[in-house]
């Protein structure tokens, strides 16, 4: 659960053009958006002006525009490019939002809260079948043993699971099937989805039991 480790924070499919994805990792809120050139930005989810969440902002392709007073931030650098109250002078380029490292791999988007020196090491194929993410209102520590005992429904292959710790009270299960069968992907997705939702019920009831 280290801030230096890579964690999956989204699926690649979660970032369609002109969308701002709202992620959370280890209590840190993130605004994640794919620019029109494909570059993925992972930023602190907070406008430098008045702190409004950038996840409700506008992904305009090369810039993200804050919903409230229109401050604009450039893709890649997160540098502020425009402040409506000062339309004459270009804003100082040193006003920049906090950015986080990002890797798109195996159908997932990965990030780390502190700069990660090492490359992401996994033995996954480039294009696995990505299951629907399951957000759970229970800590990762409770979900971990339940996932270890996960019995794949049917006779399908066992997915590989990653637990994204959103904060100390909740987490997200992200699963991928490394070598999905050539047909029946949708049915396989539904089977795992139902099984993981049942697992979530167990995880969320556990503290009360």
């Amino acid at each position: 659960m280290s801030a230096h480790a890579w964690h999956p924070i989204a699926a690649a499919r979660d970032l369609p053009p002109r969308h701002v994805f709202h992620a959370k990792l280890l209590g840190q809120e993130l605004a994640v958006w794919r620019a029109d050139d494909g570059f993925i930005n992972v930023w602190e989810n907070r406008c430098l002006h008045r702190g409004v969440r950038l996840s409700i902002g506008l992904n305009e392709g090369q810039e993200l525009k804050c919903q409230y007073h229109g401050w604009r931030y450039a893709s890649r650098t997160a540098g502020c490019t425009y402040i409506p109250a000062h339309p004459e002078g270009a804003p100082a380029r040193r006003i920049a939002n906090r950015i986080f490292p990002v890797i798109e791999r195996h159908g997932l988007i990965w990030s780390a809260l502190e700069t990660s020196p090492d490359d992401l090491q996994t033995s996954l194929p480039p294009d696995p079948l990505v299951l629907r993410e399951i957000a759970i209102d229970a800590p990762a520590a409770i979900v971990e043993p339940l996932l270890a005992a996960y019995d794949p429904p049917g006779h399908g292959p066992r997915p590989i699971f990653f637990i994204q710790p959103t904060d100390s009270e909740s987490c997200v299960i992200r699963g991928v099937v490394p070598e999905p069968p050539p047909t029946g992907a949708l049915a396989l997705l539904r089977l795992h989805d139902a099984a993981l939702c049942a697992l979530r019920d167990v995880a969320e009831q556990r503290p009360a039991a």
Binding site: A10, H19, F21, L58, E60, L189, R190
Partner: protein, 213 residues
């Protein structure tokens, strides 16, 4: 000409207003303030709707009350093949989501009315119910996307099912319910906001226009 009895902050009225605009049906507004003045309880409005609830439309003497019935009425009258379904399974699916919208109103909407100080409710119960429904909707839309569908029904055009559910989802954060755990719902909200003639209400913001090649 349609007379539309509405309140600017009511999410159920917003659903009807959206459809009126998207169908480009002319109407005149008659504002009935729900909170704090409770103008809906006045005898003058009770004479129109004995349930004293919004929204209501009066279409040249045909009076329809409630978001779902009004959506059905307008869509069946003006856009039966697109906004309203005409074949058997789709009719049942539309009804499913119209019913779901009522349940969203009773949970997500109740939390919002509570947080606005308008109507106290059992907040933990409202949140528990809301989580159940929003999770179900989010999963439904995720699988819809997997099959290449953008809307609640597997149709190329959105239906009143989308408009009935949208206001509750887009205003849920006013009730203290984060949309962060529902990525498919968030993407669907973007798609609804990009529909022609979409309009906002207080608490609802526009999204960026789609990418053009």
């Amino acid at each position: 000409m349609i007379t539309f009895y509405e309140d600017a902050l009511c999410e159920n009225c917003y659903a009807v207003r959206l459809l009126l605009h998207m169908l480009a049906v002319p109407y005149t507004s008659h504002f009935i303030e729900l909170y704090p003045s409770r103008a809906n309880l006045q005898p003058r409005f009770r004479a129109i709707n004995p349930l004293a609830e919004l929204p209501v439309i009066d279409d040249d003497g045909v009076i329809i009350a409630g978001a779902a019935p009004i959506l059905v009425y307008l869509a069946a009258k003006h856009a039966p093949g697109t906004w309203y379904a005409t074949d058997t399974p789709a009719l049942a699916q539309v009804t499913h989501f119209l019913t779901l919208a009522e349940r969203l109103s009773a949970t997500v909407g109740a939390a919002r009315r509570h947080e606005s100080g308008f109507a106290p409710t059992d907040l933990p119960a409202a949140h528990t119910g809301a989580t159940r429904l929003l999770r179900g909707l989010d999963a439904h839309l995720w699988f819809a996307e997997q099959q290449g569908n953008a809307w609640l029904l597997p149709t190329p055009h959105p239906t009143i099912a989308d408009l009935a559910c949208f206001p509750h989802v887009i205003l849920c954060e006013e009730g203290g319910i984060s949309r962060q755990p529902y990525p498919a719902l968030r993407r669907w909200c973007d798609r609804v906001k990009r529909l022609p003639n979409f309009l906002v209400m207080p608490g609802v913001f526009l999204t960026a226009p789609p990418k053009t090649e």
